[in-house]
C-alpha cells in the first residue's frame, strides 16, 4: 500500500523510469520506426515529469504538513505496467501496450492528485498537471494506432 508521500514519490519515480525505458526501447527498434519521434519525445517527457514532481515534493515538504497522512491508501498493484518487449510485438500491439501504460499511469497520477488535494496542494497540483499530459499522450497514441489499423 502506498500510504506516505515518500512512498508515493518513490513509486512514481520508478514508474516514470520504467515507462521512459519502454519508449526508448521502442525508439531503438527499426520495427517501430514510424513512431520513433513520438517515443523519444515521450521518454524525454517522462524524465521531465519525474524531475518536476520530485522537485515539487522536495521544495514544499515541511515537517508541519501531513505527508504521512494525506493519501487514502493506494494499492500499487493497481498501477503496475507491463513494459516487456521480449515477445517482439507488432507495431500495433506495441501501441496497445503504450496506450495501456499511459492509461494506468494517468489513473495513478489522477488518484494521487485527488487524494492529496486537501492537505498537500502543491503535490496534488503537480500530479494533476502530469495526469493531464498523460491523458493527451494517450490520445496521441490512439490516433497513431488508428492510422495503422
Amino acid at each position: 500500500m502506498l500510504n506516505t508521500a515518500s512512498l508515493i514519490i518513490s513509486f512514481y519515480s520508478r514508474l516514470e523510469d520504467q515507462i521512459a525505458g519502454f519508449y526508448e526501447d521502442l525508439a531503438r527498434n527499426e520495427r517501430y520506426s514510424d513512431g520513433r519521434g513520438t517515443f523519444l519525445a515521450f521518454a524525454k517527457e517522462n524524465k521531465k515529469h519525474k524531475e518536476m514532481v520530485q522537485r515539487t515534493y522536495r521544495e514544499v515538504i515541511t515537517d508541519a504538513i501531513e505527508t504521512g497522512f494525506s493519501f487514502s491508501r493506494l494499492d500499487e498493484r493497481d498501477y503496475q505496467v507491463n513494459t516487456s518487449l521480449i515477445e517482439g510485438p507488432s507495431f500495433s500491439d506495441a501501441l496497445k501496450m503504450a496506450i495501456d501504460i499511459e492509461d494506468k499511469s494517468f489513473r495513478f497520477c489522477a488518484n494521487v492528485s485527488e487524494s492529496s488535494k486537501a492537505l498537500l496542494a502543491d503535490i496534488s497540483q503537480a500530479f494533476a498537471w502530469v495526469a493531464n499530459r498523460k491523458a493527451k499522450r494517450k490520445d496521441i497514441l490512439e490516433s497513431l494506432f488508428n492510422e495503422k489499423k
Binding site: N3, T4, R58, I61, D63, A64, I65, E66, F69, L119
Partner: protein, 497 residues
C-alpha cells in the same frame, strides 16, 4: 519492507569544529549516540569541557573583526554556496536525521527543507540588514539608524529537530556579521556534524562558525563567558527559564529561550471532518509527539453527543492504523521516541492519566511494530478521553504521542482553557466559520495560531513566536525579530558646518 540505504555505516567518533578545523576535545569523555529504532550505537560524541568552549569563543572573537568588515553581499554569498551544498546533500542529511532521531523519512526531509529555508533567508541580508533615515530632523540635520553586529553568539540546540533548530539562528547571526558557536544536543549530534562538513567545504573563514559538542558544562561555559554576547536556546521551560534566561540575562547577554508547550487543538462542530482528522494525526503523532508545536489537548466543542462520539471514534480508528517502525521504511508513519528515557517519561504520564481517572480509549502501550526491531523506544499513539484541564496530563508537557480529549460547551470555554494554561506556544482551531476563526485568533494567548492547520510552524521569514512559559526573551527566532536580535541599532545624527 524495503529500507532506504543507511548513510551511516560504521560508528563515528565525533570531534569539535573550532577555528576552521576538526579538533579533538580537551575532555576524554564520550557518550554513545544510539539509533532509537535499531538500538545500535552509530557514533560517539565528545562531552567537551569549559576549555573547549574557551577555545571556540577565542576563535570566534578573533575572527569577528574581519568577518564584520566582510561586505554583507560577500557574507550572503557564503550562504548561497552553503545552500547549494545543502541541496546536494539533502537526502543524506535527511537520512542521518532519521538514524539519530527516529523520525520518519518524510518528517526528516521536511526538517531539512526548513533548515535550508533559513539559509535562503540569510541570502537576503544586504536588504534585510538595512537601516533607515530621515533628513531634516532639524534644519540641516539628518538622522539615521545603522545596524551593526555584536560579536560572538551561541546556540544551545535541542534533540528533537537537531538539524533545523541551529539553522533558525546561525545563518541570520553570521550573515549580519556576527560569529557563531553551536552546541548540538549530545543525543542527536550527527546532522549538525554533517552540516559542519559542508560549512568546511564552503570555506567560511576560520572561527566564523564553530561547533562544540557536549552537555551541561558546555552550556554553563557559554553562558558565563564574557565574550559571548547572546544565546539562542530551544528546550524545556525549566532549563530555559531557570538556567538559560536567568544566567544569560544576569550577565547582560541577549537571550531568546524558546521553551516547552502544551498545545490545544480546538475542533468545532462545523469542522471538515476527514481533513481535520488527517491533520490531527500529523499534529499529535508527527515526530512521535516530540515537538513544541505538537497537539497535546484536543478540545471538542459543543454538546452534540453524536458528533463527539463519531469524531473521537474516527480519530481513534485512524490513530490505531498508524504504521509504526523504522523511519527509513518509507511506509512508516510514526517512528520511535528518541531514547528509552523519553519513552519512560511518556509511560509515566500514561500511568498518571489512568490514576487521575481519564479513560484510555487507545492504549499506545499495545501496538504493532513493523519490522523486527527492538521495542525499547517505540510506543503507539494513545488517546485519553474524559480529561479535564486540572489533570496533570492536560497541564504538563508529555512530549510524546499522547492525545488528551477535553470537551467544551462552546468556543468561549475552549479559549478560557487555552488561556488558563501556563504555556502559550501554539493553538489551532478547525472550523468552517469565519466568526469562530476571528474570535480565536483575536482572543487566544499563544504565539503561533493555526486555522485548520495542526502544526502552525512559522516559515523562516516569520518569527517563531511563543508566549508565557513557552518563551523567555523579547525577540524570537527567525524573521525580522532575528535581524533585530543579532544586530545593534545605532543612531547617528549628522550636521555639517
Amino acid at each position: 519492507m524495503v529500507l532506504l540505504e543507511e548513510p551511516i555505516k560504521e560508528v563515528q567518533t565525533l570531534r569539535n569544529y573550532i577555528n576552521g578545523e576538526w579538533v579533538e576535545p580537551e575532555s576524554d569523555e564520550f557518550k554513545d549516540v544510539v539509533n532509537p529504532a535499531t538500538m545500535k550505537v552509530i557514533a560517539k560524541v565528545p562531552i567537551s569541557n569549559a576549555e573547549d568552549v574557551r577555545k571556540a569563543v577565542e576563535a570566534a572573537q578573533e575572527s569577528f573583526p574581519g568577518w564584520r568588515r566582510t561586505t554583507p553581499l560577500a557574507r550572503a554569498r557564503y550562504f548561497f554556496r552553503l545552500k547549494e551544498h545543502l541541496e546536494e546533500n539533502f537526502e543524506e542529511i535527511s537520512r542521518v536525521g532519521v538514524m539519530e532521531h527516529g523520525k520518519t523519512i518524510d518528517e526528516s526531509r521536511g526538517e531539512t527543507r526548513r533548515g535550508i529555508e533559513n539559509a535562503e533567508v540569510a541570502m537576503g541580508i544586504p536588504s534585510l540588514m538595512m537601516g533607515y533615515n530621515l533628513e531634516d530632523i532639524a534644519r540641516g540635520i539628518d538622522e539615521y539608524v545603522i545596524r551593526q553586529p555584536l560579536g560572538v553568539f551561541a546556540c544551545i540546540a535541542p534533540f528533537n529537530f537537531p538539524f533545523m533548530v541551529p539553522l533558525w539562528f546561525m545563518p541570520c547571526a553570521v550573515a549580519t556579521g556576527n560569529t557563531y558557536i553551536i552546541k548540538p544536543s549530545p543525543w542527536t549530534p550527527l546532522s549538525q556534524t554533517k552540516l559542519f562538513e559542508l560549512i568546511d567545504e564552503v570555506g567560511f573563514p576560520p572561527g566564523v562558525i564553530n561547533m562544540v559538542h557536549g552537555d551541561v558544562e558546555v552550556v554553563n561555559a557559554l553562558l558565563k563567558h564574557p565574550d559571548v554576547r547572546g544565546v539562542s536556546f530551544v528546550g524545556s521551560t525549566r532549563v530555559g527559564r531557570e538556567i538559560i534566561y536567568k544566567e544569560a540575562a544576569s550577565q547582560g547577554k541577549r537571550v531568546q529561550a524558546q521553551c516547552g508547550a502544551k498545545n490545544f487543538i480546538v475542533v468545532m462542530p462545523d469542522a471538515v471532518v476527514d481533513r481535520t482528522v488527517a491533520s490531527l494525526m500529523s499534529s499529535f503523532y508527527g515526530n512521535t509527539g516530540q515537538r513544541c508545536l505538537s497537539g497535546a489537548n484536543l478540545v471538542i466543542v459543543g454538546e452534540d453527543e453524536s458528533f463527539y462520539h463519531s469524531f473521537v471514534k474516527k480519530v481513534a480508528e485512524t490513530a490505531s492504523n498508524i504504521r509504526i517502525g523504522y523511519g527509513l521504511d518509507e511506509s512508516i508513519q510514526m517512528g520511535p521516541l528518541q531514547a528509552v528515557v523519553r519513552k519512560k517519561r511518556v509511560l509515566r504520564y500514561i500511568e498518571k492519566g489512568l490514576e487521575e481517572g481519564a479513560k484510555l480509549t487507545l492504549d499506545g502501550r499495545e501496538f504493532k511494530l513493523v519490522g523486527g526491531y527492538p521495542k525499547n523506544c517505540f510506543l503507539g499513539p494513545s488517546i485519553f478521553e474524559d480529561v479535564t484541564t486540572d489533570m496533570v496530563i492536560a497541564r504538563e508537557e508529555i512530549f510524546g504521542p499522547v492525545m488528551s480529549v477535553i470537551r467544551a460547551k462552546d468556543l468561549g470555554q475552549a479559549i478560557e482553557m487555552i488561556n488558563g494554561s501556563s504555556y502559550g506556544n501554539q493553538a489551532a482551531i478547525f472550523t468552517s466559520s469565519g466568526r469562530a476563526y476571528r474570535q480565536f485568533q483575536y482572543e487566544v494567548q499563544c504565539g503561533n495560531i493555526g486555522i485548520n492547520i495542526g502544526i502552525a510552524a512559522p516559515m523562516a521569514f516569520f518569527p517563531f513566536s511563543g508566549m508565557k512559559d513557552s518563551f523567555f526573551g523579547d525577540l524570537h527566532g527567525q524573521g525580522r525579530d532575528a535581524i533585530n536580535f543579532f544586530t545593534e541599532r545605532k543612531v547617528v545624527i549628522v550636521r555639517w558646518f
